[in-house]
């Protein structure tokens, strides 16, 4: 029998009979994890960076309070790690997702590696609040997700790859937004800082499959215990 895990701002989060988790919400945009892994712009870079960035640097914080980029100490008062000459976007910061990817040899990558994180610009992914991660027995981070825009019936297979705030439901990567026809900041200087669909609109359906590793564009994602 299905059960309601919880409710965030009017949206029930339901664990269905088959173990999947469903909810409807809007779709804010998350550019985190984009480090140019597949040729698209990075999420964040210093002001001196010449190329485009997906998000406004202010959304990563600032000196002493780096909320959105990887730092040398791993703490928010550390120094942001800058991509080197052999990285995808030399000079850009390294932006992280909650889901960590292994190297080609299957071993963990260092936190400074741009490839450790899931690229928002090219991988359809979903952001979930702690209520979902803690509310089901199965592993959510890295699991399969299906996202559907009920306004145009466009649907995409994705992966749960990032953690959101405790009181927010409905956030997706830029690639996911483009795939289902959600405004993805087209024409904006910082696409991830624009676009999206208001949280109260309830037009985006989300279905997550805890314990089922996501397979997106031929890549199988690791399930990650939180």
């Amino acid at each position: 029998m299905s059960r309601i895990i919880g409710n965030i701002k009017g949206s029930d989060i339901v664990e269905e009979d088959d173990g999947s988790v469903t909810f409807t919400a809007g779709a804010q945009l998350d550019g985190d994890g984009a480090n140019g892994q597949f040729g698209e712009p990075p999420c964040y870079a210093p002001a001196s960076y010449q190329g485009q960035t997906l998000d406004l640097l202010a959304n990563a914080g600032g000196p002493g309070n780096w909320f959105g980029v990887v730092t040398d100490t791993g703490e928010d008062n550390g120094t942001p790690i800058v991509q080197g000459p052999n990285d995808p976007c030399p000079g850009a910061f390294v932006s992280a997702t909650s889901l960590h990817l292994p190297g080609k040899d299957g071993k963990p990558l260092p936190k400074s590696s741009p490839f450790k994180y899931v690229d928002s610009a090219t991988v359809p992914f979903v952001v979930v609040p702690p209520m979902i991660i803690k509310g089901v027995a199965g592993v959510v981070m890295g699991c399969r997700a299906v996202v559907t825009n009920t306004k145009n019936n466009k649907s995409v297979e994705g992966v749960v790859a990032d953690g959101g705030p405790s009181n927010k439901l409905g956030e997706i990567s830029l690639a996911c937004a483009k795939a289902i026809g959600v405004p993805a900041g087209e024409g904006a200087k910082h696409p991830a800082n624009s676009g999206g669909i208001d949280a109260s609109s309830h037009v985006i359906q989300y279905r997550l499959f805890p314990d089922v590793p996501a397979v997106v564009n031929g890549v199988t994602y690791p399930l990650q215990h939180s």
Binding site: D30, N59, G74, V127, G164, P165, P183, H190
Partner: protein, 180 residues
């Protein structure tokens, strides 16, 4: 004779049927022509962007949430009398001590002007701002975004009054979109 029977009699005659059809088609097309000449309505939304410090994250894990935002909406736009080419939003939101005057078309067709005034009536630093062809057809732009500077004191007040525990304001933004 009722209106319906009169209508039936008029339309029933072949000689008047064509005139009737032309008249109906002409009336039906009038609103479409008029709408095309009117500047579309606009909406203004304030986005309060933040990140949340996540509790219970394992060492080496991502300590902060993905970015997200809360919103507050400005009043709907209206067209000043006898100025159908212009749409204006005037108003305030609960968590900013500013007044907004957003004008589309007043400084030329398609030109968007944003004025933000502080409590003492002075323009906020960096404003007014003007964008030509803000929502021109054929461009990708579906909205226009404007950063709103906030002092550390104001940021702290917004965090206290609007955001939840462990949530940190990262920026405040005005988003102007057409309402169609």
């Amino acid at each position: 004779m009722t209106i319906l029977s009169l209508l039936a009699a008029v339309v029933g005659r072949p000689s008047t049927r064509a005139i009737f059809c032309l008249a109906v088609c002409g009336f039906a097309s009038l609103p479409a022509i008029a709408e095309n000449e009117v500047t579309p309505g606009i909406v203004g939304v304030i986005r309060y962007h933040f990140r949340e410090h996540l509790e219970g994250v394992k060492p080496g894990g991502k300590q902060y949430s993905a970015p997200a935002y809360e919103t507050e909406q400005l009043p709907p736009s209206s067209a000043p009398s006898n100025k159908e080419q212009v749409q204006v939003i005037e108003g305030k939101v609960a968590h900013l001590p500013y007044s907004f005057v957003i004008n589309l078309g007043g400084k030329g067709s398609g030109t968007l002007e944003v004025k933000i005034l502080t409590a003492d009536g002075k323009p906020l630093r960096g404003y007014p701002k003007t964008v030509a062809n803000a929502f021109a057809q054929g461009t990708e732009a579906t909205s226009q975004d404007f950063e709103i500077p906030v002092t550390p004191k104001l940021a702290a007040k917004i965090e206290k009054d609007l955001l939840e525990k462990n949530q940190h304001l990262t920026q405040v933004q005005l988003v102007v979109q057409t309402s169609q």
